[in-house]
Structure formats: C-alpha cells, structure tokens
Symmetry: C2
C-alpha cells in the first residue's frame, strides 16, 4: 500500500482545531503556548520518556491517558519544563487541566498537558492562566493555526515540524497529522522531544496504543542528538473517530493500513527532529543490515549514531570508518568485526569503505563529496544474519557547543 | 597507611630501563616509539579494552600475558593503532616481538607490544624495525629516559604523564612507577588509553593480576572523555621482584600495602588522562555518595560524566543541575530522584544546588566562581544507602570539535 503524504499538521484530520500564541513565558515575542482541541472526544495513546526523573506533565498525562476514557484537548507551554519541581509542579499540571477544561467547557480529566524548557523552575501560573484564557478564542481548524501551534512548541528548533498523511479505509478517507519539536535537550536547560499526532480514524484504544508503541520502537526510539534522554519526552496520539470508518478493533488489513500511515508520520517526524538537531549541519542516518537479530541491529545502529567521534568526523566530512567499527564494537551487540562491510552513501553516490573489517582502496575525494551532503548515510553490513535497523542523528558541531555551553555573564 | 608519591615514571622501580625516539611513523619530529626493558624477567598483569573490535596488539598481549611465564620488555609505537588490520596486523605484532627479542637477547614471547594511532592502516614495518634497532642502544634507568618513553607514546596529549610511589614492605623499600597516555580517541583516527606500570615488588602472578583488575574498576574504568571505548585500551603491569621483599603470595597486610600503592598510581594516572582530555579546560569529577549499591553508584557517576549536555554546561561554568539529575535518571540505576541533594565543589568552595530533588536558592555568582576552576566536582548525594563511586572526565569544548572534525582539504 502507498501512503499519501499531504500538507498540514495537527488540524489535517477532521474535527481538530489548534492555536498558538505568545503568553510571555519566554519573553514578549516568541510564541510559547499551544492548544489542540477536538470537537468530539478522543481516544488517546501515549509513550513517555524512560528517564527515571520524569517531569510533572509526564506523570500527569500518564495518569490521564490510563484513567480517562476520553480526552479532548492538549495544552502545551514552552520555556519552562516543569521538571524537578516536586509537589508544586504536580499541582501546576492539575491547575492547567482544570483551567483549560473550564474555558473549553470539557472535564478537567480530558485535558492533557505538556511542557518543555528550563528544568528546576516552577511554571509562572499567572501567565499560563492568561494564555489559557486567550488560546481558545481564536483557535481554528486550518493549516495556519496548526502552524501557530507548531511554532509555539519550539525551543531552539530552527523551523516548525509538521507532517500529515491520508489513507483509504473501506472507501473512507482517514487522515493522520502531527507536529513535533526538537530532540536532545536543545537549549541551555531546555529539553525534550514532544510530538502530538491527531487522527480522525475510528480505532479501539487498545490498538491505538499498540500501534503507537510499535512504531515508536523503530522511529522515535532510534533518534539521538546527544544521547541525553530528556525528562519530558512525550508522544501523544489522539483519535476522534470523525472520519466515519468502521472502528478498527482487530489487527486486520485496516489496522495494517493505519499502522503504515502512523509509521510514515512517526518516521518523518523522527527524521525532522534528527535533521534539526542542536547546531547540526546534516541528517546522519545509520543503517545496520544483515545483523544476527533485531536487537543486535538496533544496538549497533544506536551505538554508532551516539558516538561523538563519529559525529565529529561526519561534521568534518571525514570518512573515518574506524570510529564507526569502534562504536559497533563497544555497543554490546553480537557480531563478527571481521565480516563487516561499511559504506557511505548520499545523493552524491555510494562508496564501499571497508570490506570484511579491513579498509578498501577507496577514493578519499569521492568519500568527502558523499559526506558533504545534507543527508549522509552509513551502511553497516554485518553479513551474518537477516535483521536490520536504522538510527537517525546528526553531526556534532561547534554550534552545538555554542548552544549548550551558555556562558553566563 | 600513607603512600608516598615520588618523582619518576617507568624507571623509578629497580632494574627498569626505558627509551623513546622518533622513528618516523608520524613525521620526522615527534617521538613515536618507546621501549621498556627490565634487567630481570617480570611477572605481568594486564587489563584490556572491552571493545569487541580489538586491535592486533591487544589480542597479541592477551595471549602473551596468559601463556608466557615471564615477560621482560614492552615495545610501543604511536601514530598507527594496528587496529582493523586483519591477519597482516597480527603478523606485525609477532614480527615486532621477534625483532625486539633478537635485539635485546630475550625470547620473542617475553616482549609485549602496544600501538596507538590511526585505525585501519597497516604498520610501516621498515620504520618500526629501524626503531627497534635503535631503541636499546641508548636506553637508561633514569628519569630522563623514562620521560623520553612517556613522550613517545603521546598522540595529542598536551603533556607526558608519569607517576611513581614508594612503600615499605617488611622494612624493604618497594617502588611502583608508571606512564600513560590520553583517553578517548584523541586525534582524527587516533585512539586509546595506554598505561604501563613497572614495579620491583616481588608478588605472585595471580595477586598481581588480581590487584590490577581490582584497582582498574575504580580508576581507569571510571574515566570518560567522550564515551568512546577504544579498540586499543591497555594497562600493563610488570613486576621484576628486584626490591628484594619476601614475595607476596597471600592477601595479607603486605598485599594491602601494595594494593594501596597501585591504587595511588592508577588513580593519579586516570585523573591525569581525564584532565588532559580532548580539548578540555578542566578536570570534571562526579562523586556519587549514599547510593543503594556500589553498582548503582558507578552507573550514576558514569552516566553524568558521559553526558554531553552536562559537559558543555561545565565548559560554560553554568550550574545547570537539571542536566545532572537528568543524566542520573537515564543511567539505569536504582535511586529516588526526590531524595537527591546536589553540590558543586572546587577550591573556590562548595555550594548546595538542589535539595531533595528541587533547586535551592543558591547564588549563581558563587556557582559560576566554583565552576570556573581547573578541577570541578559535582557531588550527588542519593541519601538512600551507603555506597559511593567517583568518575573522572572533562568538559566538552569547541577545541574538542576542532580536534575531531578533521577538515580534510
């Protein structure tokens, strides 16, 4: 089946409105609050950070997603993460849900909350309340307002990130759309990958969660900007059923269509996040093929994508394959170094750099040309099994240091 | 017991000679070959990289240390790592041992080999042979020649690293001395922590290995410059027994004295390596105290020391404690974030930054002063158990990127 990408974001699916504005959390210019609202109640799926230090909104949403039968809105702020904020932080979440519910005329436990920004600071609740009052007044179901919301969740992302897709289920058009923000802990004290996906598909809560969990394994869980797993990472998936398809309740052909479309959204989002990583100049992709097991393939790909030395070499357009095989070696995965073939690939071509663990007589000039593109791929062929995995990241640059060193004056 | 640090390196202990010279592997200026020779046969202990991709000299030395009853020399080159070099690489090791044995008049299987440098290239054996011919001609048992050897194993280390210590065992003076080179994979394609320790202590091979393995856990295995575990990491310990003490054959008081002295050497070496990490401006130390178990303490300390975001914040003298608790959170260790107290400490003072997982009302000015020193310590008090661990690393700087990006022209 072909998945058809379309323009749009969280308002692409039927019945979803959005808005984004400057409430004054960061400063008086940048947008810092967003709202997603569905005309009718939604089933929700979610995946959260595996970090033991979980931000208050992560704990709050976990509870809501598991205990509320339906949700209908998500309110988001950027600028303050509401992480490491103790009891007061939990109360802020409850207050944000309650207040948003009041303004929208829906139950408090139907309002999910997300935050991204400085760790350790309390939310400025007076500003948040003012934002919540204003957000619903101009929310709309169009691309323009989806974009306002996508902009409002940015921290040091260099552009907003939206994606949408349509599929046909039993002759009915079903739409999935999403917005996300950058991975890594992008700004001084800032953190977090956030992703919000909306769909009008009718699907059981169980399968919604199952599909989200499964696609996350091969998409969001395979990106790394700096190896730092944030306290706030959240992916929320809201389904309001307004497409009018017969509800998907078993893992049939329709479920597989939905799964594939959701995978498209998640993979595009993951790539957008990795390719806009802190200070990066390129999207770096590591494809491990012919590994002994899926788990080995994942470990190998993630170890290479996280290697500072490999990332710095990619920045320098340097075909430093020794760093790649070295990172494979300390990954903990099972493989035979003496069987590995390595390739670099981009839209400038593909080059075999090492064969059976030993360097080939490759052209440095051609390698540099391949590595100078905006999307660079390292292919690690283990030549041992039939399993593969792909990880997404970026190069490690001077700008990363600039962004994260935060010379206070 | 007090351990007494003295001046010197691998020639501090009785009966050890050394030399270092430029053989022409790197260029015609920098020293790139070193020799350590003992007048009498030595028992050897060793620990090697855990990387699945092991350089040829690592495989070679592993075999020799386990199969040879005695060793008597170590020949080292910098410039080429002899890693990912297949069968040819293994033959180079055998040839280096054989040739060195011939020149010194000792068996080939008494000569250990170490290499550090570019991965994936074969050793220039004609140059290596010429170096092996020349090295023994001027080897001496003095500080000057120990320093020549220490300089010859450097890659982008900014200074040579030597340490020595004396203890009394049954009224006999026993000496341990060592030299080491930088951690991380310091230069483009360069790699490796190498450490060579010599002692005149008489001790059984079993206890020599046991002591080395144990001190390594808390010293060399607790340093990280960039999280990249090299293919060549090697620590060799040679004991020739010439001090004349009664051989240590059980874990008695004398063993404990030797252990403590060896710990001193290993800890000083580890700190020197971390404090001279790639492009760094300070030695960063992470002390985890009152953790539930030793394993938890180690995981927590190593996770923080490896965090790019924490390292960049230290570079920026930024008391960004959220990054530290975040790195603790994704370490995989068991702990309660709500019980953690965090301190920054240096010779400018000590400051409590967070208490019970929430930020204190600390002075940013004071924090910046503390973080602007050459040796910065983060103390993470888990307030849960009685176990502690310390990790050593450095900050992440623009210079790290310069060193590792290797813009080829």
């Amino acid at each position: 089946m072909m998945v058809k990408g379309i323009k749009g974001g969280v308002c692409a699916a039927k019945g979803f409105k959005a808005n984004g504005l400057n409430a004054g959390i960061k400063n008086n210019i940048k947008k810092d609050m967003a709202l997603i609202f569905s005309e009718s109640p939604c089933r929700a799926g979610a995946v959260f950070t595996s970090n033991k230090v979980k931000a208050a909104p992560v704990k709050w949403d976990y509870k809501l997603v598991h205990e509320s039968e339906y949700v209908q809105a998500v309110v988001v702020n950027s600028g303050v993460a509401n992480a490491a904020t103790g009891e007061e932080g939990m109360k802020c979440c409850a207050d944000m849900s309650r207040k948003t519910g009041e303004v929208l005329g829906i139950p408090a436990d139907a309002v999910l909350v997300a935050s991204t920004g400085v760790i350790g600071k309390q939310l400025p609740m007076d500003i948040i309340y003012a934002g919540i009052d204003e957000l619903p007044q101009k929310m709309e179901a169009d691309e323009e307002h989806a974009t306002l919301a996508a902009q409002a969740i940015m921290t040091t992302d260099t552009h907003d990130k939206q994606v949408a897709v349509q599929i046909e289920i039993d002759g009915v058009t079903v739409t999935i759309g999403g917005m996300c923000k950058g991975s890594g802990m992008i700004h001084p004290n800032m953190c977090t990958m956030l992703c919000f996906i909306t769909t009008d598909c009718a699907i059981s809560k169980e399968l919604l969660q199952k599909a989200l969990r499964a696609v996350t394994e091969d998409t969001f869980n395979m990106i790394s900007v700096d190896g730092d797993t944030s306290t706030n990472d959240t992916v929320l998936l809201l389904a309001n059923g307004m497409a009018g398809n017969k509800e998907i309740t078993s893992e049939d052909e329709n479920y597989r269509k939905f799964y594939e479309a959701l995978y498209y959204i998640a993979e595009k989002s993951a790539k957008m996040i990795a390719g806009d990583g802190e200070g990066c100049t390129c999207l770096f992709e590591v494809r491990v093929v012919n590994a002994l097991s899926k788990a080995d393939a994942r470990m190998l790909a993630k170890s290479v994508i996280k290697s500072n030395l490999t990332k710095a070499a990619i920045y320098g357009h340097d075909a430093n394959w020794g760093r790649i095989i070295c990172a494979m070696g300390y990954s903990g995965a099972e493989f035979d170094p003496d069987k590995v073939d390595l390739y670099f690939e981009s839209n400038a071509g593909k080059l075999k750099i090492a064969e059976a663990g030993v360097q080939t007589d490759y052209s440095e000039e051609k390698a540099t040309e391949i590595l100078s593109q905006k999307h660079v791929i390292a292919v690690c062929d283990c030549n041992q099994g039939a399993h593969s995995a792909t990880a997404y990241g970026c190069d490690l640059t001077h700008e990363y240091i600039n962004i994260n060193a935060d010379y206070r004056s």
